[in-house]
Amino acid sequence: MNIVVLVKQVPDTGAERTLSEADHTLDRESADPVLDEINERAAEEALTLKETVGADVTVVSMGPDSALDAVRKVLAMGADRGIHISDDRLRGADVVTTARVLAAAVRTVDDVDLVLAGDATTDGQAGAVPAAVADLLRLPPLTHARELTVDAGRVRVERETESGETTLDAPLPALVSVTEKINEPRYPSFKGIMAAKKKPVRTVGLDDLFPDADTAGHLVTRTRVVEAVPRPARAAGIRVTDDGSAGRRLAEYLIAQKLV
């Protein structure tokens, strides 16, 4: 089967994130980019399928030059080929543009059976992108999968969200987004890293993906930031050391605050 994995580079989550002064987009240069952890798990799932049922795995990443590192890392983990979507005009792309561009990249791969993605990236797009990509490709969206089974042309996932657990079923081709609990991603081996250097990576831009669109037709974002302000850090309030009475005093505090 043919699998496409969508991965994304994000600023290191341990680091502080800031908005750029100039245009209020995420200042990606200010933090070290790393392959988003959840995306590594999507890649791991694809590579597990490659080993168990046989698959050709294409990894796709959209972003500046550093996104190529994300592609290389997944190639080193064992994927077969990569597509790096790189275009200066995509800076500040919104959810809809991101989804359109990713969907267009998936369409360049022949006979795709399964698209895999992380269910949320840790830098703010809140999980809407995979569902939007599926909708644009008219693929069933099996999102927030904690468990994934592919069998006899169908895919089944166990989905877990705040409103409960559900089992989802759909025919292939389909899109699955995975949660951070689905697996433990492998580390690339030295051999894998060396082999990755020889694997094919295609770099494409907007003009390759949308040859018929006129340049002016490329909307990058449909929203505008009116204002961005840092929030004041929270300050510590009352501090007590328990001497046996803290539970009672805390209750009194909550009652005084009308929280009980």
């Binding site: 989550t13 341990g14 994130r17 908005l19 952890e37 959810v95 809809v96 989804a99 949320a120 840790t122 797009q125 809140a126 999980g127 809407a128 569902a131 939007a132 599926a134 909708d135 008219r138 693929l139 969206p141 927030h144 089944r156 989905r159 877990e160 969200t161 705040e162 409103s163 409960g164 559900t166 079923d169 025919p171 951070e180 609990k181 909307l219 974002t221 449909r222 929203t223 505008r224 930031v225 961005a228 840092p230 929030r231 510590a236 309030g237 009352i238 501090r239 007590v240 050391t241 328990d242 803290a246 539970g247 009672r248 805390l250 209750a251 505090y253 909550l254 009652i255 929280l259 009980v260």
Partner: protein, 326 residues
């Protein structure tokens, strides 16, 4: 006034509180029009409750298979409603959904179909359509506006206080296209998350969370008992989830849920930046930690240095006593 479409969250019998919040927010922009997606008869059951909260129109987008597919019927219904209104030259001012996991996905799919601007996880909305979002783990407030298409806005549950505003509601039928099974995910089994009477994590006014310091699945009883005494929901840190103390769907933080309750109580949680990202917009934060150096104590409104197994049960008893007398 233009219509503002509101996607109704419900369980077939009852409208979820998050929908009343959307209706209140919608009134700032125009006339709320509630879209009920469900099996036949659902809209009729929910109509009075929706009218009491200001819905002037209730769209019944009903079909026998509406509950069988993930998200698709809701996206289809909202798209249909937008296109119908646009055909009457009465395009809606916005489409509002709850920024739950399912709602966010519906919003993303709808915006992609409509080529429209999308604002996710808004905590406030002003009459001109400018939405406020809190980004980067609570460190930045951003106000944004949609500049293209019909604004699709996902509002964070708990951001608006529901308010009754009784009006007459007209019920309208919205015909759903048949679901294409090759482009949809079928729900074949469902297990609800909400145990007993506990409120949903993202909607609760009080959240009591446990971390690695709780020490095990058994220890979470202490967390649950305090949550129940306060009428709150239970949350967990990722370390507690990873250790198997509590299910993943209760995880609070950057890769879990974002919550902003009136009261957040952190028990045995150190306060890593990724945990704070999901709770630091809570109104009041209380932390119990035996390590005086734990970062969570630096931002707690009330911090207790002590053993959670001593402090929490005592607090539970005090609260229960107060509740039974007060």
């Amino acid at each position: 006034m233009p219509d503002v479409l509101v996607l109704v969250d419900h369980d077939g019998e009852r409208v979820h509180k998050s929908t009343y919040e959307l209706l209140r927010a919608a009134r700032r922009l125009g006339d709320p029009a509630a879209v009920v997606v469900g099996t036949p008869g659902t809209a009729a059951r929910l109509r009075d409750a929706l009218a009491r909260h200001g819905a002037r129109r209730v769209y019944a987008a009903e079909s026998t298979e509406a509950d069988e597919f993930l998200g698709t019927p809701a996206v289809d219904a909202l798209e249909r409603a937008v296109l119908d209104l646009a055909a009457e030259a009465a395009s809606p001012a916005a489409v509002l959904v709850s920024a739950t996991t399912a709602g966010t996905e519906v919003a993303g799919r709808l915006a992609a179909r409509l080529d429209a601007g999308l604002l996710i996880d808004a905590v406030d909305l002003d009459p001109s359509g400018v939405a406020t979002q809190i980004v980067f783990g609570g460190s930045c407030t951003v106000r944004s506006q949609v500049t293209h298409g019909i604004p699709v806005i996902a509002l964070r549950p708990g951001s608006f206080e529901p308010e009754e505003h009784p009006v007459e509601a007209a019920e309208l039928q919205l015909t759903l296209p048949p679901v294409d099974p090759a482009a949809s995910a079928r729900v074949t089994a469902r297990r609800a998350a909400v145990a007993g009477d506990r409120p949903e994590l993202t909607e609760a006014a009080v959240v009591v969370s446990g971390g690695r310091g709780v020490g095990g699945a058994d220890g979470f009883k202490v967390v649950e008992e305090l949550a129940d005494a306060l009428g709150g929901a239970v949350g967990a840190s990722r370390a507690a989830v990873d250790a198997g103390y509590y299910p993943h769907r209760y995880q609070v933080g950057q890769t879990g849920k974002s919550v902003s309750p009136q009261l957040y109580i952190a028990l045995g949680i150190s306060g890593a930046i990724q945990h704070l990202a999901g709770m630091q917009t809570s109104r009041t934060i209380v932390a119990v930690n035996k390590d005086p150096e734990a970062p969570v104590l630096d931002l707690a409104d009330y911090g207790v240095v002590g053993d959670l197994f001593a402090v929490a049960p005592r607090l539970t008893r005090e609260v229960a006593a107060r509740r039974s007398t007060g």
